[in-house]
């Protein structure tokens, strides 16, 4: 190839590569613009305050009601329940893998966690229907087990791989010198773990939890299949709930384009977007603190 051609190709690809970088910005910008545009269309009809604080979600009623409080509460209840299960299990498993497991056990456990992460959400949701639901119904003497508890358990399973992996990284990254210093003053392994390693890894563990929260809030298929989808404000874990993601998934397929109801679903998506964004930003804040700390 002639030198001139080579230089032209070189220059051309520099532009191509840069353009793909811009594509990413365009993608996030596009998603954001879509959410904002459709939400504005919605808020021309419905007051934002009524939307956020309304106690009833009944868009197909005679006088449609667009109160998303039940949906927010449902999402919160299920996510909260999932975290109560997943946080202790996740941190415990991460500590076990990092501090106690030998290298051979590690080589089994880590791929097992990756396998758990690989299982599609629709399969987990399916098992919520066929395994967990009858189980819960039997135990609590209910007609069926499609409720908040079911969703929380499934979401916990889905969030666990994220929490374990990130927390394990954080625990693993604690400098050996800390541990040695602790053993040096006569602390046991457990004392070292609780008083030295976990506090030192705390920012990373918080990041792990926040990423798990983000994942749980945004998860659609499992909650759609396993929580019963009743649009009322739940009073307990045995109540059927309808989360924000499930509402979008169910109603978007049936609603005519460019009606208030259609726009309402985008408004829910906007709230959802900011909730997950918040969870991820908090997570990132703590991971950056670790990075700075280790840089020093």
């Amino acid at each position: 190839m002639k030198y001139r051609t080579r230089i032209s190709i070189d220059k051309l690809f520099k532009v191509v590569f840069k353009a793909t970088g811009m594509l990413v910005l365009a993608l996030l910008g596009g998603i954001f613009a879509m959410l904002v545009y459709n939400s504005i269309s919605f808020f021309l009809d419905i007051k934002p305050l009524d939307f956020i604080t309304g106690m009833e979600w009944a868009p197909t009623a005679k006088t449609p009601k667009y109160g998303m409080l039940p949906l927010i509460i449902s999402t919160t209840v299920v996510t909260f329940g999932a975290m109560i299960i997943a946080i202790p299990l996740g941190i415990g498993t991460a500590a076990f893998i990092s501090e106690y497991a030998g290298s051979r056990l590690k080589n089994i456990l880590k791929p097992a966690i990756e396998m758990l992460a690989a299982i599609p959400s629709v399969v987990i949701g399916f098992l919520g229907i066929v395994v967990l639901s009858p189980g819960i119904a039997n135990m609590a003497d209910l007609p069926n087990g499609l409720n908040a508890l079911n969703g929380a358990i499934l979401l916990a399973i889905m969030a666990l791989p994220t929490i374990i992996t990130v927390a394990e990284d954080a625990i693993h990254a604690v400098p050996n010198a800390y541990k040695e210093a602790s053993y040096g003053v006569g602390a046991t392994k457990w004392q070292t773990l609780r008083k030295v390693i976990i506090p030192a890894a705390a920012p990373g563990i918080i990041t792990a939890v926040m990423l798990g929260v983000g994942r749980a809030i945004g998860e659609t298929m499992t909650v759609l299949m396993a929580t019963g989808n009743a649009g009322l404000i739940p009073t307990g874990m045995f109540d059927s709930v309808k989360t924000m993601t499930a509402t979008i998934a169910i109603e978007m397929g049936e609603v005519p384009y460019q009606t208030t109801h259609y726009y309402a679903l985008y408004a829910i998506a906007t709230v959802l977007f900011f909730m997950t964004l918040f969870a991820n930003i908090v997570g990132e804040f703590f991971i950056n603190r670790i990075r700075k700390y280790h840089a020093v």
Binding site: M1, K2, Y3, R6, I7
Partner: protein
Amino acid sequence: MKTKLSAKNLNLSFADKQVLKNISVSFAENEITALIGPSGCGKSTLLRSFNRMHDLFPYAKINGELFLEDLDLYAKNVPVTEIRKRIGMVFQKANPFPKSIYENIAYGLKINNLPCNKEVVQKALEEAYLWDEVKNDLKMPATRLSGGQQQRLCIARAVALRPEVILMDEPCSALDPVSTLKIEDLIKHLKKKYTIVIVTHNMQQAQRIADKTVFMYLGEVKEEGTTDDIFNNPKNEMTANYISGYFG
């Protein structure tokens, strides 16, 4: 003797840190010049500015002039790939491509539109004293060679392009004494055809192979002259202290 490579009032800084200060130096044709000096004195930086390796870093600012004979190396219309073809480079750590031995030599020839066939590859490997050891496994991945062999392959890769100058950045620092001797032998043999500038930390190595030696300290050239003069009759006190091991 004819000057092959030279720098005139060269200043170089990375971001705010000035690394080379007003350097004027010249290297004669078909000679081996050693650049010595303590770590961080800028000898590698100087070496790398001759084949424009700093182009990679947007923060490197270069002022001054560099010449290959009378060609201005940083002139706007000079193709950088052409410069790198004429000024070859061998690095501190052997860095063969993750390709076969044959491909390692052939790659540079192909992209530069030079004739590429088995004879050319063989000739380059012979010149680097490597042919006899690898002639039966030219298809083998180069990464399977020993460290010393890899470094000689990198030298073969550079000489295959028939450069005029070969820059060497501490080529033996990662090698055992036997491989080092082999490469030193090779370098002495190569000077018949090429001009060689070599950065080294090893005083004995500089004395064994170099015709001229340049002593650098904190980004400046403190003294230059024949290797004999620098090591046996240094004029600068700093040079005397460095070569006798007071610092560095």
